[in-house]
């Protein structure tokens, strides 16, 4: 009897919590729509005011891109601490390539050198080229950059032997899947055990440093300092277990229609975090 009452109360409690969640996301979208409306009205009024002068309008939009680029770059410099490597961890059912591409472009614009994109079904990894195309498109759209002048480096295959050097100004974008998590540690372990099998190594010599260098790619990419998690699930869902040792996790409700302001406030939060490293 009591058990039934408890279960009833539990169900009501959870129904309320779900309702709260739905309401929050609904208000978020409403707010966003309202912002869109304001923008749409402004966009309608601007050409009227300019008197349909097309060449002028083109000029302003190109200027706007330039301004935006300068502003975003300045935003990055205004932060006390900027992550070197950001992991974008998507724990949502629906994936939107344009929103992810926006996020990646913003990362580049504020001066972040490495960006990893992850979902636990490996969808981004499988559709790597689609993601990269979208990023190039957004890069041109948002920053108006000629992609040949500012090449983005895409890494899609860990087995690829790449001889090129990574220049510091050249951002690296990588799509990751669960296969880069625990299975990659297992592959490194197999490699070491094989060396032991062939008497090239002794088991006693294996240490953290040795495993760590095996788990880095041919290109030297640092561990992510910041993981931006998008979605309602409070978990890493298998994202690079070895590498997230010291990563800060910051959660955002969704990557759908995420705004630059949301993104930048997450960076500001990261910038104010202090790491003690055991001390």
């Amino acid at each position: 009897m009591m058990a039934l009452v408890y279960e009833f109360v539990w169900r009501i409690l959870h129904a309320l919590l779900h309702l709260q969640r739905v309401l929050i996301s609904w208000f978020r979208i409403r707010l966003w729509n309202w912002r869109l409306w304001k923008r749409a009205v402004a966009a309608l009024l601007v050409p009227l005011a300019l008197g349909f002068q097309n060449h002028k309008k083109l000029g302003t939009s190109a200027g706007k891109r330039g301004l935006r680029r300068v502003r975003w770059g300045a935003d990055g410099k205004s932060l006390e601490k900027l992550p070197l490597h950001v992991g974008l961890l998507i724990v949502e059912e629906e994936l939107h390539y344009t929103d992810i591409a926006n996020l990646v472009v913003w990362c580049m614009a504020v001066g972040i050198s490495y960006v990893s994109v992850y979902d636990n079904q490996g969808i981004f990894r499988r559709n790597n080229s689609r993601l990269m195309d979208e990023i190039l498109k957004q890069q041109q759209d948002l920053l108006g950059l000629d992609s040949t002048k500012h090449p983005v480096e895409f890494l899609n295959n860990r087995n690829e032997k790449q001889d090129h050097q990574v220049l510091s100004c050249q951002p690296v974008v990588k799509a990751l899947s669960p296969d880069d998590g625990r299975p990659s540690i297992v592959r490194a372990a197999q490699e070491l055990c094989k060396a032991v099998e062939q008497k090239e190594r002794r088991s006693k010599d294996i240490d953290v440093h040795m495993l760590d260098s095996l788990l880095r790619d041919s290109v030297h990419i640092p561990d992510p300092d910041l993981v931006l998690k998008f979605g309602p699930v409070e978990s890493t869902l298998g994202f690079l277990p070895w590498h997230i040792r010291l990563s800060e996790f910051i959660s955002l409700p969704s990557h759908t229609d995420v705004s630059y302001e949301d993104f930048f406030s997450a960076l500001q939060r990261y910038s104010s975090c202090e790491q003690r490293q055991g001390k």
């Binding site: 197999q190 032991v196 088991s203 294996i206 495993l211």
Partner: protein, 337 residues
């Protein structure tokens, strides 16, 4: 202050506990008990006092967990990185640990009543010998209990744990117990310090830090992570309830992700076995002929998998024996037959 605090929940706490228990409950909860020093600063007391209160809070939390039917708890007591702190603080922490483990032995009866098994995970060789001995005593004397489990991570980091697991497997290869191709996700999990526990369902970190700080990186890949801003010595029953509520809200999605991962894992194992069988058939010229038809190939695959499992089983047995004898030697006991 003892390890298990006696006492019951208040009426309202009991009521809430029962409501929570109507839903899916975590079986294994891990804690990063952060904020002892900040608490001491805030309260203007000695740093050591903060650590002592932190331990008392652990005893209290364990009781709440028992009341909530959570049978396994893992705590991050001391990281290898913590050796970098001032000598005074490190010595203080070692002394506290020694006291508490000694205290544990005085509470044998109580621990037996609750059936508490205590395990200590970490690179114990880094600790002073007398502490190692105190730990060994506690571990050996509670080894037989099986109602609830407390795993204390001491001189621990996850990277060290994973590396140690790889080293153990390499040792197995050296001894000829396993082959390098037998190394798999499952085997690596079995070689971790935490091999006898299921992966935690819920990880709680207090004091508002949002990092894992090298704690259970492998094991928490599919756990619910809850970061709470309260300082550890101020942790309350309601904070714990809030974390469990978070877990329940995430339960279905986590379960789905975990199932998918398990499927992947099984697929990878099958793939690896197929590769090994194909290689074996290629090398043995005589079997080349009958290896081609699918039925005999399937048979080869089954025999190979059975052989592999047998190798792994005897390797894990040898490993367990080695680990047990480490504690027995420290304890100066004859190993149980």
């Amino acid at each position: 202050m003892s390890w298990i605090r006696e006492g019951e929940l208040s009426l309202i706490e009991r009521l809430s506990a029962n409501i929570l228990k109507a839903g899916p409950m975590p079986k294994h909860v891990a804690f990063i008990m952060d904020g002892n020093r900040r608490y001491a600063r805030k309260r203007h007391v000695e740093r050591q006092e903060g650590h002592t209160q932190g331990f008392d809070k652990l005893a209290e939390t364990l009781r709440w967990c028992l009341n909530l039917d959570i049978r396994e708890v893992t705590v991050y007591a001391f990281s290898i990185e913590n050796f970098k702190r001032s000598k005074e603080e490190v010595d203080g922490l070692m002394e506290l640990a020694k006291q508490k483990f000694a205290r544990l032995l005085e509470e044998q009866e109580n621990l037996e009543k609750h059936g508490v098994c205590i395990r200590v995970l970490g690179d114990l060789a880094l600790l002073p010998l007398d502490l190692q001995q105190a730990i060994a005593k506690a571990v050996v004397s509670t080894r037989g209990h099986n109602k609830c489990f407390l795993n204390v991570c001491f001189a621990y980091t996850s990277r060290h744990e994973i590396t140690n697991a790889v080293r153990e497997m390499a040792w197995g290869v050296e001894q000829g117990l396993i082959r390098s191709s037998d190394v798999s996700e499952l085997l690596l999990s079995e070689c971790l310090y935490s091999s006898s526990s299921p992966d935690p369902d819920l990880l709680i970190r207090t004091s508002g830090e949002v990092r894992l700080s090298d704690f259970l990186l492998w094991q928490t890949s599919y756990s619910c992570l809850v970061f709470q801003s309260v300082l550890w010595p101020e942790y309350s029953f309601w904070n714990l309830c809030e974390a469990i509520l978070q877990y329940q809200l995430n339960y279905l999605s986590l379960q789905r992700a975990r199932d998918m991962h398990k499927e992947q894992q099984a697929l990878q194992q099958l793939e690896a076995d197929r590769r090994c069988v194909a290689e074996l058939l290629m090398h043995s010229g005589s079997a080349k002929g009958n290896g081609k038809d699918p039925q005999s190939r399937q048979e080869h695959l089954l025999t190979y998998a059975a052989d592999r499992e047998e190798r792994v089983r005897s390797f894990l047995e040898a490993l367990q024996l080695q680990r047990d004898s480490y504690f027995n030697d420290l304890n100066g006991q004859v190993p149980p037959v």
